[in-house]
């Protein structure tokens, strides 16, 4: 029984980046869109549709409630339809994205909801149309919180990606489980964890720096 070669680590690292990166682009953009829709259709907001809002909110909660590992299996038919296969790195992108969309949507919704209603009133008074308010007031004012939420979501995605090993997606988490847990190679697990800590720390710092740059609230 031999230790994995260096290229195994590199391959696993790249698989994690690919999985998380692709899922992030999908989950964060769809999640943000969902959060905006949830915010502006709430009663008393810009485009009030309380019944639609409640329905959408329930759908979001359903997806939030299902554990990722179950979602992974339950979504197999969907994954096969979209990617053509249920195995491999790309196959993991589908459940990973779908599980993180509602997660980020809820975080983003909190930031959007906290935008001072006085600012929206001022925008209405100055002759902004509603879509102007979304674009020029709601999103820019919530941006520090939206970016902060992206950081949290990215890190949650790295965690979830470890479970994607179950569909043969590879990645760092999978490496740690196969060598470290199943073959009792504790060193491999330890090394993978160090890499993950470095990755998470990097994302956290970058995210905080970015959020600070957008934050002019003083």
């Amino acid at each position: 029984m031999s230790l994995p070669a260096l290229d195994k680590y590199i391959q696993a690292f790249l698989q994690t980046l690919l999985m998380v990166g692709t899922s992030a682009v999908i989950a964060l953009s769809v999640g943000l869109a969902l959060a905006i829709v949830l915010t502006i259709t709430a009663s008393g907001s810009l485009y009030p549709h309380p019944r639609f809002n409640r329905g959408l909110s329930i759908v979001v909660n359903v997806f939030r409630a299902v554990p990722f590992i179950i979602l992974l299996v339950a979504l197999l038919p969907v994954t096969r339809f979209i990617v053509g296969t249920t195995l491999g790195t790309w196959a993991a992108v589908v459940p990973l994205s779908i599980s993180l969309i509602p997660f980020y949507a809820r975080i983003a919704q909190v930031s959007l909801r906290e935008v001072d209603p006085g600012l929206i009133e001022a925008a209405r008074a100055m002759g902004c149309r509603r879509h102007h308010i979304v674009r020029h007031v709601l999103i820019p004012e919530a941006l520090p919180g939206l970016v902060g939420g992206m950081t949290v979501s990215l890190i949650a995605m790295i965690n979830a990606s470890a479970m994607a090993g179950a569909v043969g997606a590879g990645g760092l988490g999978d490496l740690a489980i196969r060598y470290g847990y199943e073959r009792y190679e504790t060193r491999v697990m330890f090394e993978v964890i160090v890499i993950l800590i470095a990755l998470v720390t990097l994302i956290q710092f970058a995210g905080e720096g970015l959020a600070r740059r957008f934050d002019h609230r003083g």
Binding site: A122, E141, H216
Partner: protein
């Protein structure tokens, strides 16, 4: 009740007209009448104040002008056009003719001063050079040209309100709505903001509608004032008249901090009757601002009695009218003959009571 109001009819053409306005909110203990059957008109080019305690409905009333609030009944017309029933496009056009400033400034924290003032023009689709020119002019007007690239969090309260004013004026509006615009500012900054508003009113000929709970603000810049009490029109008229002779209890309550009421120590020593002891009568002379004379002649006061003393009081000059109240002490023995003369000295006189000699 309309007939009893003074200075009720606007002096020139009405700009904004409110007719039988009602607005209800559903509160936990049943409906709350924020505005109840309020009718009045605001003239073009005047500075009009709406005053009342918090919860009197002034904020709701102000917001019906640019349809941020929609009344349950009654109409608001701006230049004879009813505000209710405008579609979004027409409403946007109306709002571009009505600037608004706020108690908490409501500037976008994510945008620079320049971008905040430019936003109303950007969303109106103006070209970049035109926007830059107009924003530059306005920052000049409010004296903040050097802060164009600062963020609101780097400004003081007074500077933030100046940015708010620049933003409100960027579309060259005909009406400026001020929602407690100085309530979050210290007294000195309040004075400078009020001076700026007065200056804008004179130079640009804007109709200014402001709401406040502070009578000093009304005295400082308003031509006419409407007093609201629990959503109802309490009284209305020219500011100097309301100050000189407030008719409603709500007005008197709001005026109290500014009135020269009887000082507590004097009130303690005051008796209704001297009972034969030697003492002084305390007279209150009130000036409503009606008299043709400008100010109060010192000679008239001196003529009251050789030993008359001015104890307390003051006069305010509001739009050229002197009004206020003075407390004067004269020997009680001289009271009767004095009363003939005081008729010339003040608009109203009243004997508040007597102070026994040596009591103080």
């Amino acid at each position: 009740m309309f007939a009893s109001d003074r200075g009720d009819e606007p002096s020139s053409t009405p700009h904004i007209v409110f007719e039988r306005l009602h607005k209800r909110y559903d509160g936990p203990q049943g409906p709350i009448h924020a505005v109840h059957d309020v009718s009045f008109a605001i003239a073009r080019g005047e500075v009009f104040g709406i005053i009342g305690r918090s919860g009197a409905g002034k904020s709701t009333l102000l917001r019906t002008i640019n349809a941020l609030e929609v009344p349950d009944a009654g109409t608001v017309t701006v230049d004879d056009v009813p505000v209710a029933g405008l579609d979004e496009a027409a409403l946007v056009r109306l709002r571009r003719r009505i600037g608004m400033i706020f108690q908490h400034f409501n500037l976008l924290s994510s945008k620079t001063v320049n971008a905040n003032v430019a936003l109303p023009l950007r969303v109106a689709g103006l070209a970049r050079p035109a926007i830059d020119r107009r924003v530059g002019e306005l920052l000049d007007l409010v004296g903040l040209s050097d802060k164009a690239s600062a963020y609101p969090s780097q400004l003081s309260g007074g500077q933030k309100q100046r940015v708010g004013i620049a933003r409100a004026l960027v579309h060259q509006p005909e009406i400026l709505l001020c929602d407690e615009a100085t309530s979050a500012l210290d007294p000195e900054t309040t004075q400078s903001i009020l001076a700026l508003l007065r200056d804008i009113n004179r130079r640009l000929g804007l109709t200014v509608v402001l709401i406040t709970h502070d009578m000093a603000v009304i005295r400082e810049i308003c031509d006419r004032v409407l007093v609201l009490d629990q959503g109802r029109r309490s009284e209305m008229g020219e500011v100097w008249r309301i100050f000189g002779d407030p008719a409603a209890e709500a007005t008197r309550a709001l005026l109290r901090p500014l009135l020269h009421d009887l000082p507590a120590d004097l009130a303690r020593d005051l008796v209704d009757d001297l009972g034969g002891r030697p003492g002084e009568a305390i007279l209150q002379l009130r000036y409503g601002g009606d008299s043709s004379a400008d100010g109060v002649a010192l000679a008239d006061l001196a003529a009251l009695h050789p030993q008359a003393r001015l104890l307390h009081g003051g006069l305010d000059r509001i739009r050229g009218h002197s009004q206020g109240r003075l407390l004067v002490a004269i020997p009680a023995s001289a009271l009767d003959p004095v009363q003939d003369r005081t008729a010339r000295v003040a608009d109203h006189i009243e004997v508040l009571g007597y102070v026994v000699t040596g009591a103080r």
